[in-house]
């Protein structure tokens, strides 16, 4: 039997452990690397098929971008319209600038209803504000009801993918977690495990005091909250508990139902390759007077938390156009190797590398994420609303340098680089001496091991040996060859 190396550390407090450490942990986890590569391939191919299915994808993408751009650049208008319509339909709206304001708003609602049990649909924003932790502190139990999120809750870990959060867990690990939870042995079979979770979660749906969800798109013209899901947990938590609380980022809007149709064509196709997810709910206010089911109270918590700082920014405003489809994760060569945990934030992959430092307004720690990219631009190509993520990553690096947050040796090295490359004689001397310095390290034209700082490269890759003759040395020779060649042709 082969043993697969896995990582069972508590991953809840990731940001403290450093990007380098998290990356090494991820690279050492064989199952994670295989699972991430397999899943991202599957999702990516699904997306390509779904794009071909609808046809004229570039026209759709441009339409999606234009709608998001219009929404964000008139956010004050649409957000007012949305909030007014939520309220006119009997819902309540709480505008919150900071993460803690949103936590307090939620705690206030929970207290008012003497709530003990909160059933959660998928909500990235609730993870962004660490709501579960706060609920625990106040003696409440919050249950994640998305199957993947439920597995992670039992494992005390955070999501490693926006769409398939437990991508890094294998069946045996899930069976172990469920066995511990159940108190009796469960086999490592998908059907048995899913049935256990279904039965267990059904009881939570029935007994919970509050249903908590995110919001995929709020519709300004009607005040509707749209929610997409495949399992149906989103419907459960918005149907059974007496109180429904929505926590959403302030940018998560579309102006009209017509625009919603565009986004609902782009989102599932880009996320999972489905034409549509199994369930899409449009929730407008709490139950109406003639209704016999549905929540009696609806609260919509609208969060800023660093988002408004991007408004009006010529480079970063577009990051608010994101619709959280995770297509950029599935094509990112870096994400495919390290998975989501290495990013140390609820948002991973290229979008996480941009969003996390901006939301946390932390260029020092979270800002390192901008370097976790090869800048290949695959994320931009895959994005259904055309966010230039790779450009943003370069701008973030620039910000970090400007803020003097790079290390002293690095800054010194780049000064030297600038000085040398700006002067012909120095440049010639430097390139010549590089050859003689590297020569003892080279075997058959390749350098396998080298001392610091080159070890940063050679630890994981081989470096080709610098040729004795540089391009500059050969230039006059080449010029002659070129001239000769042209004469021959004449």
């Amino acid at each position: 039997m082969t043993t697969i190396k896995t990582n069972n550390k508590d991953k809840r407090s990731l940001i403290g452990s450093g990007l380098q450490q998290r990356t090494e942990d991820a690279l050492a986890d064989e199952f994670l690397r295989k699972a991430v590569a397999f899943t991202t391939d599957k999702l990516k191919n699904g997306r390509l098929n779904a794009m071909a299915d609808i046809g004229d994808w570039e026209i759709w993408r441009e339409r999606g971008r234009a709608i998001r751009e219009n929404t964000i650049s008139h956010l004050d208008y649409y957000l007012t319209q949305f909030a007014d319509n939520v309220v006119n339909n009997g819902g309540n709206v709480h505008f919150c600038s900071k993460a803690d304001d949103a936590v307090q708003a939620f705690l206030g609602i929970a207290k008012q209803h003497n709530a003990k049990l909160v059933a959660k649909g998928k909500s990235m924003v609730s993870e962004e504000i660490h709501l579960n932790h706060h609920l625990e502190e106040h003696g409440m139990e919050a249950i994640e009801t998305d199957l993947g999120e439920y597995i992670l809750q039992l494992a005390k870990e955070t999501p490693s993918h926006l769409i398939i959060p437990a991508i890094h867990k294998n069946k045996q690990q899930i069976a172990d977690l469920f066995t511990e939870d159940a108190g009796y042995a469960l086999p490592a079979e998908t059907k048995a495990l899913a049935t256990y979770a279904k039965t267990k979660l059904r009881n939570y749906f029935l007994e919970s005091d509050i249903g908590l969800t995110g919001c995929n798109f709020g519709v300004a013209e009607s005040g509707s909250i749209s929610l997409v899901s495949n399992e149906g947990n989103g419907r459960m938590v918005t149907t059974l508990p007496k109180v429904h609380v929505v926590i959403m980022g302030m940018e998560r809007l579309v102006p009209t139902f017509d625009d919603l149709e565009v986004m609902l064509n782009l989102l599932p196709r880009s996320a999972t390759g489905q034409k549509l997810t199994t369930y899409i709910s449009l929730i407008t206010g709490p139950r109406k007077l003639k209704d016999l089911d549905g929540p009696e109270e609806l609260h919509v918590i609208i969060l800023d938390n660093g988002r408004s700082a991007q408004l009006g920014d010529p480079i970063f405003q577009e990051v608010l156009n994101c619709i959280r489809c995770a297509a950029c994760l599935n094509v990112c060569p870096v994400y495919r190797h390290v998975g989501g945990h290495a990013y140390g934030s609820v948002y991973s992959g290229p979008i996480g590398a941009v969003l996390t430092p901006l939301i946390q307004q932390d260029m020092k720690e979270a800002g390192q994420l901008a370097y976790a990219s090869s800048l290949c631009g695959a994320c931009h190509e895959a994005c259904p609303v055309k966010i230039p993520l790779h450009d943003m990553l370069v701008h973030l690096r620039h910000r970090k340098v400007r803020a003097k947050l790079t290390s002293l040796p690095e800054r010194f090295a780049f000064r030297m680089y600038e000085f040398t490359f700006g002067r012909v004689t120095l440049y010639k001397v430097a390139t010549k001496s590089a050859y003689y310095l590297l020569k003892p390290l080279s075997r058959k034209g390749l350098i396998h091991r080298a001392p610091f700082p080159l070890s940063g490269w050679t630890d994981s890759r081989t470096l080709p040996m610098k040729p004795k003759q540089s391009f500059r040395d050969r230039w006059s020779e080449l010029q002659n060859e070129l001239k000769g060649g042209m004469k021959d042709e004449q």
Binding site: Y77, L79, K171, G232, M250, L276, T278, L282, L292
Partner: protein, 261 residues
């Protein structure tokens, strides 16, 4: 009937900040002139006749493991009854919930279920005697929050089959569009493990936008939208365990569509 208006907290400062960041002194009061709206024109222009819509729906629905039965209007009552009997036998249904809907009434679904000795839960306020029998059948030794909830909801939760009559059906994704309200309970399409949807072919639309436009047109006041519109495309599913497709996680795992032509 509309609800009492809710409250807004913290709007002014929040909105002023957004306006300022966008370079405005105060929040925008008039609607922006939208450069673009809705789906691309070529997509909007796709025009299918009824037969094409039926074919497209059937293709998509069966690809998602859904079952379809197409019945002639003249024989609808008898054919649907026979099909329902077959399904109830296969699924070993003992209790079924259904919308309190004029079309289902005309098809005689409720009487049929009762004649088969199926515990029938129509989506209407429960009569006192129903509530009483329900309580004696399900006496709990330790009462829970759920046991104190509405009896109709509890009875529906025990059903294995839910029967609905969709308001719209989207052909190009095979999606049932169900508006909640009155006799159209949202729980009926959610809590039972199988879903049975009956609709006439004229309720088929080509794309989602037509259904959304229909909802908008039938609710001209912004205050009377249905509290919930559910679009259902196939069975409940998950791929969260090692990418293995699991059908029927929380919502119905078996879905049946009956089209009356």
């Amino acid at each position: 009937m509309s609800n009492k208006a809710g409250v807004i907290n913290g709007k002014e400062a929040f909105m002023l900040n957004i306006a300022n960041r966008l370079g405005r002194k105060e929040p925008l009061k008039s609607a922006p002139t939208n450069p673009v709206q809705g789906v691309p024109d070529h997509y909007k222009a796709i025009d299918l006749n009824e037969q094409e819509k039926i074919e497209l729906f059937v293709h998509n629905w069966t690809a998602l493991s859904g079952q379809v039965l197409i019945v002639q209007r003249a024989e609808a009552k008898a054919t649907i009854a026979a099909y329902l009997t077959k399904i109830i036998g296969e699924l070993q249904v003992t209790a079924a919930s259904l919308w309190e809907h004029v079309e289902l009434l005309e098809l005689g679904i409720e009487q049929q279920l009762q004649s088969m000795n199926i515990n029938t839960v129509p989506w209407r306020v429960m009569a006192v005697q129903d509530t009483a029998t329900d309580l004696t059948n399900n006496e709990q030794s330790n009462p829970t929050k759920w046991s104190a909830r509405d009896k109709l909801l509890q009875a529906t939760e025990r059903c294995e089959l839910g029967i609905v009559y969709p308001d719209y059906v989207i052909a190009n994704t095979s999606t049932l569009v169900l508006q909640a309200g009155g006799g159209q309970g949202r729980s009926v399409s959610l809590l039972p493990s199988s879903l049975f949807a009956i609709f006439p072919a004229e309720r088929l639309v080509t794309r989602m936008g037509e259904a959304l436009q229909g909802i908008r047109d039938t609710h001209p006041l912004n205050i009377d939208y249905p509290s919930s519109v559910n679009m259902i495309t196939g069975p409940s599913r998950s791929a969260d365990i090692e990418n293995d497709l699991t059908i029927g996680v929380h919502g119905p795992g078996k879905v049946y569509a009956i089209i009356i032509v």
